[in-house]
Symmetry: C2
Subunit: 606 residues, 2 copies
């Protein structure tokens, strides 16, 4: 039943050699991996305006130079990640780049902060998308958390089905969103060019503004940089591309950078020209669309696709997290289970882990994850800075042809990223201090896991020293009465060894005597040892008895095996009708006594 | 760690022969078993007034004849249960009496409805007590559910510590409560006798009231009968008394009946004489206390002990539920675990089950369990009616000396109980219909459990037919690579049988070849079978392979044993770093394939 339900949800299992067919073309990859980056144009410009509005509407013209700064950083990041893709076609992004060029600690910091970041991406973007949906249908507003959780589950299932299938589902909304915004920008520009928009709506560039400061402009810039989150996703996922993987990935990145630049500069320009101010209850995109189209079908088309893309931005996390977890797991910094492909060839454990973690975040914050956004920006700019510093080191060390140009690109990217990071820490410390505590804990955990795996590997390595020969076996059979189960257990034990001891734990003296008499009658050639328990515990006297046996056995190079019968009822719920002593005995002996435990199933026929 | 924490909470384990010391004296028994019954005087009179108030305050004089009716029923119940105690000193109350005299179905109905009732007792009385506490400290009001749950846990721990210790803790509040109410009644009477209370406050008995009806009076009477819940508790717990148990229990019951009668009639008389009307925000007891003492220390003493006793009423459930569950479990209508004494000689499983069930009820109803009260009353009067009908049948059948008097007592009790039950069903059907659905489900479950145990008993009975001889053993060792663990497993398997097969599941052809070569190098005389899995599942190909082996083995009367190594890491959390394939394989083979699974622990040294 469980397995047919699973098949219905995620589809039939795929064979390993079908992996190639699951790989992505450029257009599908763009759909899957760019939703996070592209969706940020829905709020990037607004973030800048909100900071500037604290001074005066006169300051709004600064959006233009700030946007140029953001575009510049975008260009630097795109070029930089293009270089990463070609240098590291096996994927892994910031983690691999930092690890190989700066050392293991920067690598783990980059990896750890990206892992946490992808969880935040999912929680934040799903919550934002849910808000957009329930703003349109206020009746749903009280079910926000439930809807958000359902959306996470939906995207989880899509991803468990595999890359190509989720690409097929996700491609439409993303291309529709790009189409809607391009149309919006085009119509807006046309209206401006044909003089249908009053040029009085905006202050001209260069207007002096009282009270403006460098600090404020930097803060506005760092807020605008939130439009750049998600740019790194493609570099993490290079191995998911169809061959030639690196070339296709680089082309996809370039295309994404170009679309992002067009949309961001178009939206920012229209915002400036229309003189739009941020409002509490209406987004900047909504205001532009209303002014350009009026509130007709086209307006709702823009609004609908924007809401959809915010939800789908979560998908970038679902593509990148499992790949990064795989890289860390392969290096033994994360549990091995993250490196196993599931039925549909995705790294299911990573997908499921991400899904559960983000659902817990959504529930914990009751769907109000907005104040996680600065944390999320810090989580992105730490790996940005580290990976570009790493690339700079690489060029300095390797000095390939044209290295000065390459170095310049990465160095500028690294400097700007670091600047953004510093501004975030200075201006929003009360919202981001958590990183300083949390990141070291994550890195420490990575090290503990690595340490354990190294220790295990060492112990498992087969040395030439051969195990001591086992000279014989003693079987201990705990019995609870004289039944067919006991008969069967003794029979089995006798077939394996001639040293079988039955053990009975009695709670009173009378009981003890009765059992001894009945056993003598049985006359099966097996010795019965009765133990008396005044505390009504079976485990305690049994363990003490086994300790003595074990000590004697070790002397003679004998192995001790405890044979425990386990009832297998016809109906699963019947299990609660039987004392689960077998399970308790087994757990105790295995974990504390280092004794082999053999379980003999006894299937009830009715 | 767990065990020392447990010891701190519930005390050191007791030996079985210490049971005698845990038995109850009359005074301690009264403290433990009467809290439910005595606490009901805190609301019994009020319940009658609430019904009468729907007509007019003129009708309040009817409380006097109605209270006389309730006292009459109390006398009948007390005498009846006294007869039950002597006839059934082994305890079990309504369940045993109904089963032996009316047949198994009435017995199970009585038992089932009492079990459910004790859960309701705990949930309702703890919620009521919590309300009383948080009314005094409004700041705590929003933490109602949390406080109620903590109180249940506190009473659970008391009961897990054992009867005598909880009696020691509970005796003070109960005797203080009785003392407070006796004092209240005494001072009130004194004031009336000395003419300090105006005789104008109440209408005289016999005043005609417009609109009064028999239906309404019966309803008021049935509401007043809620003061009688808990009377049966002593008869269930006779075996917990010090010898002579029956005599001591009967004396305790008589004492409780007497105290209950005094308190109930005193409170009712003062209520009538002071002309007190029920108020939404102040209890009747509070009004009487305020009029008698004024709002001074004595008033708060009465209020405080009343709140406390409401919480402690839950304890009656904790004493009676485990005993009843034990009786049902001994007759195999409930899981065996309810008949096992815990470390402190109480039936711990019953106590824990009751605790969890009532906590779930409190959480589900968010601490507002008032509308469960009618359900709870029905749950009490079903066993009252059945047990007294049963006793009547007994006298009719056995006709001992003086049987006519005894029959009269039980018959009257049965008739009044049935009347109350009928009134409850007629007047509050919308609140009690649930019983009609739920009770048959409970009884059906009892039968299913009994059926399972009977079937098991039959299958386990040792017949003369001796199991077929086992002619040999085949050991299957799944291996994941060439490690010390494999070396050890093969070594162990070889010491038990000369037919050992190692099985390796390969995910690709290359891997398969590599393993085969490495195995050949090992040269340990054991054959390696490699299985190829294109779906990356270990379990599936392994099970298919075992099926073939099993078929061949059965033909030759061989047993098949699968040897699974289990990693035992140093630190418990390291477990998540290893794939739990061993557990999965074990569960699948035991439950579905009927194959012996032997687990070889491999302890990591670091």
């Amino acid at each position: 039943m469980y397995s047919s339900f699973k098949r219905l949800l995620i589809g039939r299992p795929l064979k390993t050699h079908e992996l190639g067919e699951q790989k992505l073309t450029k257009l599908k990859a763009l759909a899957i991996l760019s939703s996070d980056a592209l969706s940020s144009v829905a709020y990037g410009t607004e973030q800048i305006l909100i900071v500037l509005a604290t001074i005066s509407t006169l300051a709004f013209w600064y959006t233009i130079p700030i946007a140029i700064g953001v575009l510049f950083l975008l260009a630097a990041l795109t070029l930089s990640y293009r270089q990463i893709i070609f240098s590291y076609p096996q994927g892994g992004g910031a983690y691999i780049v930092s690890k190989e060029n700066l050392g293991i600690n920067p690598g783990l910091i980059a990896g750890g902060s990206l892992l946490v970041d992808y969880i935040l991406t999912v929680a934040v973007s799903i919550s934002a998308g849910t808000d957009a949906i329930t703003s349109a249908f206020p009746i749903l507003h009280e079910h926000n958390v439930f809807i958000a959780v359902m959306l996470v589950i939906f995207i989880t299932i899509l991803n468990l089905r595999g890359l190509t299938e989720s690409a097929a589902v996700l491609a439409y909304p993303i291309y529709l969103f790009v189409f809607a915004l391009v149309m919006l920008i085009f119509v807006g520009m046309f209206k401006i060019a044909t003089g249908q928009v009053s040029p009085q709506l905006h202050t001209s560039i260069g207007t002096p503004v009282a009270g403006i400061s460098l600090f404020l402009l930097l803060r506005a810039f760092s807020s605008g940089c939130s439009a750049l989150t998600g740019v790194e996703a493609i570099s993490n996922a290079v191995p998911n591309f169809k061959a030639p993987a690196a070339k296709n990935a680089a082309a996809t990145l370039a295309l994404m950078g170009f679309i992002l630049a067009v949309l961001f500069s178009g939206i920012t320009f229209l915002t400036y020209w229309f003189g739009i101010a941020p409002k509490g209850n209406e987004t900047v995109i909504s205001q532009i669309a209303a002014q350009t189209f009026g509130r007709n079908f086209l307006y709702f088309f823009v609004q609908g696709t924007t809401a959809l893309i915010l939800v789908l931005a979560a998908n970038t996390g679902f593509s990148a997290f499992p790949m990064l977890a795989y890289s860390l797991s392969r290096d033994k910094y994360m549990p091995r289970m993250f490196s196993i492909r599931g039925d549909r060839l995705g790294y299911s454990n990573g997908i499921i882990f991400l899904s559960i973690a983000s659902i817990l975040l959504i529930i914990a914050f009751k769907g109000k994850t907005e104040h996680l956004i600065p944390l999320y920006a810090v989580g992105v700019f730490i790996p940005f800075t580290l990976s570009q510093t790493g690339m700079s080191m690489k060029w300095l060390r390797e000095k390939p042809k044209g290295w000065i140009g390459k170095l310049a690109i990465n160095l500028i990217g690294a400097l700007i990223s670091f600047l953004v990071l510093a501004i975030l820490f200075v201006t929003k410390f009360h919202q981001v201090w958590f990183v300083i505590i949390f990141l070291p804990i994550v890195v420490y955990t990575f090290y503990q896991i690595k340490k354990h795996y190294s220790a295990v590997g060492e112990q498992l390595r087969l040395s030439k020293h051969i195990e001591e020969e086992i000279k014989g076996n003693i079987f201990i059979v705990p019995v609870a009465g004289i039944t067919t189960v006991v008969d069967r257990s003794i029979n089995y034990a006798k077939s394996l060894s001639d040293q079988v001891i039955a053990v009975y734990v009695a709670f009173d003296k009378e009981d003890e005597k009765k059992m001894e008499l009945q056993w003598a009658e049985l006359n099966n050639g097996v010795r019965l040892v009765t133990l008396y328990s005044s505390y009504r515990s079976i485990l305690h006297p049994l363990c003490k008895f086994l300790e003595t046996i074990q000590a004697k056995a070790t002397e003679k190079h004998y192995m001790v095996t405890v044979l425990v019968p386990q009832f297998i009822p016809k109906k699963r719920w019947h299990t609660i009708l039987h004392n689960q002593s077998a399970l308790l005995i087994r757990a105790r002996l295995l974990w504390q006594k280092d004794i082999v435990v053999s379980t003999l199933p006894y299937k009830f026929k009715k």
